[in-house]
Amino acid sequence: MEPIIQFAPYTGWVYPNETVFEWSVLIAVYPYLTGLVAGAFTVSSLYQVFGFQRLKPVAHMALLTSLSFMIFVPTPLLLHLGHPERAFNSTITPHLTSAMAMFGFFASFYVALLILEGWFAYRPFIVEQAQKRTDLLGRFYRLLTLGSYDVSEHAMRYDRKWIFALAVIGIPAAHGLHGYVGFMYGSLKSREWWSSDLMPVIFLFSAIISGVSLLAVLYVATCKMRKVPVDLGCLKGLAYTIWAFIMVALVLEGLEFANIVYKGREGVDMIMQYVTGPLLIPYFILQFAVGAITPFLWLSYMIWRGTTGKALVIGVTVCACLVLFSVFMMRWNVVIGGQEISKTGKGLLSYHLPLFGKEGALVAILLTMAPLGLLYVLTRLFPPWSDAATHAHS
């Protein structure tokens, strides 16, 4: 039988209780998922609020993606809790000084907002299906109409007002939710690696690039699956968005690291030993070089050269995959990396990721992929494609 506690090997001096890693890979998956939610919502907002017309083909998909991932956001946390059955204690009796206590409220509010916005966005489609279908699914759509079959121009105008308002509220909600996740780490003064004022913004910008990248990949994949041509204008729009935000993300992360090194507070020697040793590959090579700088340069080249056609599709898709990987590595390097540097500032620990078990690699992969399954179901029920009736609003 697997021992219930995994002890971490260490070097140097670490506190005895630190030899057990308390936040596993699941706690890295959690901000990754919330980041994808916030990022995907950004795309939806760019279209709905800021009028980026070229993003129209992915606007509805962005909403569905955001919702699918948001529904799975609490799962890694619940799996990690010692008493998941008590999870609602933090919502019933929130301890207001805790950064974690508000999560239930923020998350529920945001899910409700997404469902409401989705409902308004899909209302013409729902009404159409409710009137057309006679099968069980027709009953489902009739239920979803909530008794409102009015799709007149007047009603549509009213709906559009709601969509706009919800999208506007959604921007601070989505970004607040994720910035707040960053604050949960940044506000801890026990670890030099986490304790940073920049942490919430770093989380936010990495979230945006990850969500936009996810949509780019999903858009290309769904086009291939549906055998329809990729709208290059839309893909270019996504590429521009990634390119613009990746610059900010890189600058912020660079500043954060420069701050730690330049201030050189107690424990910095150990941090330097860590980043030039065990973290060299996951941090500098995978997160920065491969996952961020490579796609940045590649995207810059494509924008400069005006690349189009198949080269653009391949280029953007590969870059987006690299960004998705980079952002996961960022979550990993923060959550796991932070714990690998001892609070003593005099020792290093090493985390061993088990393959099986409640907090193993397989569960982490499953939880990251599960929202895609839900997204598939949602796209069957509510086709987000721009050629469908869903875009009556546009």
Partner: protein
């Protein structure tokens, strides 16, 4: 006709109102009894409001004490009896990775700029003790020329502004009126945010119970007038405990008569474990 009808109706109404009045009186009496403490006592939750005068037992008033802990590191001989006593007294998991209290050893070897630090959980020390249930420091420096060496007992600092309490999402961990940071095992959700937030590494996660755990200064003992187990067994008096409200208590005298310091004062946590005889490397 109308007048005739109205008389019995009025009578009925009066009777009804009289009954209602009676019922209201009964309800009022019940409410009064409840206010006097009849009902609350029956329905009371195990924890009472922080203002209550007696907690957790009838004979103990937590508003009358302000506990504090002292460590005179110059006296500690690293025998680790405190660690073993704590494990037994508080049912701490019998392994070399989870402790409510521990002892650190600092050794300066001649010609070596780096101080060597270890604790009882170090694999070399565990090998020397031969078990993860009993602890001892291995004589690993017997062939070295030691310039300076000392032991530092560590435990939860029961801070005045505890970071662990601040981050707890449910309020399951809290600071008592008498200055002890406790965890409500029946309310903790096991998120381990507190474990991360503690800069001293004083908390661990009890896998079997699914909740965070740490030193309570043996709250079950001190509220009965006893000393914490680690203080009780210390053969050299390196650990001391007492009421800071009592100016003649051991802890008050220790703080008053020595130049004490706390660990990581820059954290703003305001610890309540006071040290004498620690060196610059200790944090």
């Amino acid at each position: 006709m109308k007048k005739e009808d109205s008389a019995p109706t009025l009578a009925a109404r009066r009777a009804f109102l009289a009954k209602l009045g009676g019922a209201a009186t009964c309800a009022g009496a019940a409410l009064g009894a409840a206010t006097l403490g009849v009902v609350p006592r029956a329905a009371a939750k195990p924890e009472v409001t922080p203002d209550a005068a007696s907690f957790p037992t009838k004979d103990y008033d937590w508003t009358k004490h302000q506990w504090g802990f002292g460590v005179d590191a110059t006296k500690c001989i690293g025998c680790l009896r405190c660690v073993e006593a704590c494990k037994r007294e508080n049912d701490v998991p019998a392994n070399a990775h989870q402790f409510r209290t521990w002892v650190e050893r600092y050794v300066h070897v001649e010609g070596d700029a780096q101080v060597h630090i270890d604790s009882q959980q170090d694999p070399v020390n565990i090998e020397a003790s031969g078990s993860e249930k009993t602890f001892r420091f291995a004589n690993r420096y017997k062939d070295a020329k030691v310039d300076k060496a000392f032991f530092v007992p560590k435990l939860c600092n029961h801070c005045t502004h505890p970071a662990c309490v601040q981050v707890c999402p449910t309020g399951a961990t809290y600071r008592t009126k008498d200055g002890v940071v406790l965890i409500d095992e029946t309310y903790c959700i096991g998120c381990r945010y507190c474990v991360q937030a503690c800069p001293y590494g004083a908390r661990y996660f009890n896998e079997e119970k699914g909740v965070a755990d740490k030193c309570t200064w043996c709250y079950h003992r001190i509220t009965k007038g006893l000393q914490p187990a680690c203080v009780e067994v210390c053969p050299v008096g390196a650990r001391m405990f007492g009421d800071q409200n009592d100016k003649q208590s051991r802890i008050s005298l220790f703080i008053r008569n020595s130049r004490v310091q706390v660990l990581r004062p820059e954290s703003g946590n305001a610890p309540n474990v006071f040290y004498v005889g620690i060196d610059k490397e200790v944090n």
